[in-house]
Amino acid sequence: MLFQKILYPVDFKPASLNVKPYILKLKEAGCQEVHLLYVLVPSEWGLLQKEEYDTEEKINALRGAMNEGYVEGLKKTFRKMQELAREFEESGIKTRVLMIPGELDEVIAEYAEKNDIKLVALGVTAESLSFFRVGKVLDVIKAVDKPILIVKSAES
């Protein structure tokens, strides 16, 4: 069951979307479930309560505590993820769509560990791996203890 449950962190940039065909192909090698995870990094979304936002109801519940524009933005992202998930569902792969606030490396590593993820499929850009960039990508690769498939793209 080496590829049975895959964690797919997405941010809708081309680098992350380029991973999709690899996951679809891994269905033939036993992939049955994909968890699409959008990490809400603090710099983009401010301080949100750390929980798994996996339904629109949970996002709606943030109204009042958060600016209306933020809530709408979150909902828009969530719907885009559901759309992406549909492509997997249509291929017979079960999906879970969720957003979690926090640091990229911590959220991904922790989620993979807690949910018995078999493989993390990560899209990265060549630039994000540079020695001179204080990026988070290498931290993610280091923090994740599970097997990790790194798909590199030229463009961000």
């Binding site: 192909k25 033939e28 020695f131 994740v144």
Partner: protein, 156 residues
Amino acid sequence: MPLFEKVLYSTDFSPLAEVALDYVRKLKEAGEKEVVVVHVVDDLSVELPEGAELLKERELYRVLPEADQKYLTSLLERLEAVKSRLEADGLSVKLYLRYGNIPKQIVDVAEKEGVKLIVMGAHGKGLLTEILLGSVSTDVIRSASCPVLIVKRREE
């Protein structure tokens, strides 16, 4: 789509490399046909030219002390054993035994052979790098143009 058709399997013959081999074998179900098995030697007592092909350039052996020659012969046997296992699975196999900088040589073979994916255990030299990720893996991820699958530990 032939995403996993030709795979490079980098091995240092460690237990983790053995786990990575399970992934290589499993990928046959996702269309893998050919495996390029690579082992890079960097610890001989005599400096050889960077990138020396130790499977083909047998005359190089003559400059080496007997202990090194025996060591290389044992590596060849181990590579052949990996080859037999993969061939028994119905995969076609090509072997490389090279001398030089480990990540550089892995990436060089990957480019030369036009592989679609590199599979390896997260090995590194030295305790600290081993804990972090493995300097070899980090350098391969940085330099390779194809996707890389890194296996960090055995999955239960």
